[in-house]
Symmetry: C2
Subunit: 377 residues, 2 copies
C-alpha cells in the first residue's frame, strides 16, 4: 500500500460570491495545483451536492479537466449530501493508496446564495429520504436537529446556553480566519437572544448557506501532510429508523475505523475539524468521535475543553457555523484547515499540532467520513 | 491485482413506471444480490444523473444501505451525466482490483417520465457546460447531434436513410427484449417520415426519456463473467472546443486504454453495447471504437455489418433508442446485456459470444467509459 500525502491546497473565501460556480471551482483548483507545483494529474474527483438543482450544472469533473487543459483524465462528481467533499477525498486517497495513480485533484464546490430560501430548503431536503412519512409530515434539517437538541436537554441537563457556547467558540475562531463568511464578533447574549429557527435552535445555532470552493492535490509518497487514515460509514436515512436520537452511528463507525487504521486514539489528536452543521451536531460529534463520554459533551464545552488550552481545539476555522457551509466544498475545507494546522501556518494555530482529524457528515447522519493526518516530520 | 467478475445482475423493465425511484432501485438491487447469493457487500456505488433536480432525492447510496440492511457500508452516488452508470461500475471495479474489497454493489437509476418536457430538457442540459456562449444561444442535445449529423452527411455522403437504418436495427432487437421500452415493430419508411426533432434527426433518431434501474454485483475472483478491462476518459464539454465535430475523443481514448488493458483488439470483440443516445452517435461510436474506419460507419450500417451475421452485432438489447435510456441506469443496463450475451442466455443471443464490450457516453462527449468482458470458460 502506497503512502498518500496532501501536496497542495486551495480555497476561495466563503460567503456570497458574484463569481460563477465554474470560476469558484477553477480558482480553488488552480491554487491547489500551483502549490503542488502542477504535477501530472491522473484523476479528478469533484464533491458537489446541489449544482444540478440550484445551478443546473453537472459534469463538473469534465469541466475542470477541460478548463485546466488536463486532457482525457478520468473525472466524475461524487454526491454524498454534505459529506460529498469527504467522500470525494477518500476515493482519490484509495486510488493512490491501492492503485496506480501518482497525483489526483479533488475539489468541492457549491453555489447557493443566489437561490431563494424555498429553493434552498427544498434542495437540502434531498439529503433526507423523501419516500418516507416524516418528510410528508414536514420534517426539515433544523427540525431534525432541534428535536435532537430537545431530547439531549431532557436526557443530560444541558440547555440552550451550551449550544450558544459552541456557536460563540466557533465565531471567535472565525474572526481570525480571513476566508470565513462571518467574522463579526458576537456575544453569548446576542447568540442566546437571536431569532428562533426551530426551538431550541436560534439563528447562530444553524450553519448558513454559502458560496465557495476548496481543492486538494493528493500525491503518492510522504512529502506533504500524510493521510494516516481514511474511513467512511453509512447511517440511518430516516429519523424513525434511528435506534437512539442522540447517536450518530455513522460518525462512531467511521471514527473507530479511522483510529484503527491510523493506530492512534482520540487522546493523540491535537486538533479537530468536525461537522457543526448545527451547534447540537458539534456536541454529539465530540462524543461520537471519542473525545468525551456520551452525554457529557455539553459539560466539556462549558469547561472550555474544545478550545485552545483545553483537551482538543475543535473547529479552529470557525466551523460550518461561522466559516460557512458551501456543501460540496465543506469536507475539503475542513481538511485544508487541518493541513494548515499541521503545517503550522493556520489561523488560530494550535502550537505543536502533529496529528489532526477531519470529520464530515452527510444528511441527518446518512454518511460520515473521518480522515486523520500527520504533519511533515 | 485481483481478478474481478460479475456475479449478479438485476434490472427493472424500462419505460414509464408508477413505482417510486426508491422502489425501482431496490428491485434491481435485490435481483442482483439474489443472483450473487447475497454476499457480504463492502461498498455501494450508485450511478444517477438527475434525481436531485427531477425527484428531489439524493443520498441514494445510504438509502440502499439502509433499505437492504447492509449496515454502515460505505456508499455514495457517482454523477457523470449519461455515463454515471459506467463510471460507478469502474469505481467498484478499481476498489476490488486494487483494494481490499471482496464484493460491491453497483446500481443505477433514473425517474424521468413524470416530469414535463421543459423540466427534462433543462435537467439534461446540465450535462453541457452552461457557463458558455453556445448554451446562451440555445444549444440542446438534439441540436448538438443534429449539427454533427449534417456535418457527417456533408463530409461522407451519408444521408438520413443511414440514420434510419440504425434506428430500425435497434428497434428490431428491442422487439425481442422483454424489458425494452419500445417493442412495437417499425418500418424504415415510418422511421424516415417520423416527426422531426432537430433537422435531420426525427423522433426515432433520438433516445427517449425512461424510468428504470439496473444493478450489478462485482466480486473478487473469476467465478462470473470476468472484467478484462475498465477504462475511462474525458473529452470536450463545449461544441466550440471540439477539434473536429465528427470525433468523440473520450470514446477513442477510453477504447484504446481498454483494448490495451484487455490485450485484445476490436476484431476479437463478439458483441457490443454502445451509447446510441442518437442514431448519429452510434455511427460515430462504431468508428471511434475501432470497428470501422473513420467516415465509413454509415457504409457498415448499410451493409448490415453491425447486425447478427455481420462483423459485430451492436446494441442487441435495442440500445438506448429502443430499450430506453433511464440515464443513471444506462451504463449498467449495457453491461447487463453484455453479461447475458456471455452467459449465452440473452435476447438476440449472439452464438458463441466470448468477448463483449460496453461503451457509455456522458454529455456531448464529456465522458466515456469502455468495459471489456470475457465469458465463463
Amino acid at each position: 500500500m502506497n503512502k498518500v500525502s496532501v501536496t497542495g491546497i486551495g480555497m476561495t473565501a466563503f460567503g456570497k460570491k458574484e463569481a460563477s460556480l465554474k470560476t469558484l471551482l477553477m480558482d480553488a483548483c488552480l491554487e491547489a495545483l500551483r502549490e503542488a507545483n502542477f504535477p501530472k494529474i491522473d484523476a479528478i474527483y469533484i464533491g458537489n451536492f446541489m449544482a444540478g438543482s440550484l445551478v443546473n450544472q453537472e459534469i463538473l469533473g469534465a469541466i475542470v479537466a477541460n478548463e485546466l487543459g488536463l486532457g482525457t483524465v478520468p473525472a466524475f462528481k461524487v454526491e454524498g449530501a454534505c459529506a460529498s467533499g469527504g467522500i470525494a477525498f477518500r476515493q482519490g486517497f484509495l486510488n493512490i493508496q491501492n492503485g496506480g495513480y501518482e497525483n489526483v485533484l479533488i475539489a468541492g464546490v457549491e453555489k447557493m446564495k443566489h437561490a431563494t430560501t424555498e429553493e434552498t430548503t427544498r434542495a437540502i431536503n434531498a439529503a433526507m429520504d423523501n419516500d418516507s412519512n416524516e418528510i410528508l409530515a414536514g420534517l426539515t434539517f433544523p427540525g431534525f436537529f432541534g428535536t435532537v437538541a430537545n431530547r439531549y436537554f431532557y436526557e443530560t441537563g444541558a440547555s440552550k446556553k451550551h449550544l450558544a457556547m459552541v456557536a460563540l467558540k466557533n465565531r471567535e475562531y472565525a474572526v481570525n480566519n480571513p476566508k470565513a463568511q462571518f467574522r463579526k464578533p458576537a456575544t453569548l447574549e446576542e447568540i442566546m437572544e437571536a431569532r428562533m429557527i426551530t426551538e431550541p435552535l436560534g439563528l447562530f445555532d444553524c450553519s448558513p448557506t454559502t458560496d465557495g470552493a476548496a481543492a486538494v492535490v493528493l500525491s503518492k509518497g510522504d512529502k506533504g501532510v500524510v493521510v494516516r487514515a481514511s474511513a467512511q460509514a453509512s447511517g440511518p436515512t430516516q429519523m424513525q429508523e434511528a435506534e437512539d436520537l442522540l447517536s450518530l452511528p455513522a460518525v462512531r463507525a467511521s471514527a473507530e475505523q479511522a483510529y484503527q487504521m491510523a493506530g492512534v486514539g482520540p487522546e493523540e489528536i491535537d486538533v479537530v475539524e468536525l461537522h457543526d452543521c448545527f451547534t447540537m451536531t458539534e456536541i454529539l460529534s465530540i462524543e461520537e468521535l471519542g473525545f468525551f463520554e456520551k452525554g457529557t459533551g455539553w459539560e466539556a464545552v462549558a469547561q472550555g475543553l474544545t478550545k485552545h488550552g483545553g483537551k482538543v481545539p475543535v473547529n479552529t476555522s470557525g466551523g460550518l457555523l461561522s466559516k460557512g457551509h458551501p456543501i460540496g466544498a465543506t469536507g475539503l475545507a475542513q481538511i485544508i484547515q487541518i493541513v494548515s494546522q499541521l503545517h503550522g501556518n493556520s489561523c488560530n494555530q494550535v502550537d505543536g499540532a502533529k496529528i489532526g482529524l477531519a470529520q464530515n457528515l452527510g444528511g441527518t447522519g446518512a454518511y460520515s467520513t473521518v480522515h486523520i493526518f500527520e504533519g511533515v516530520k
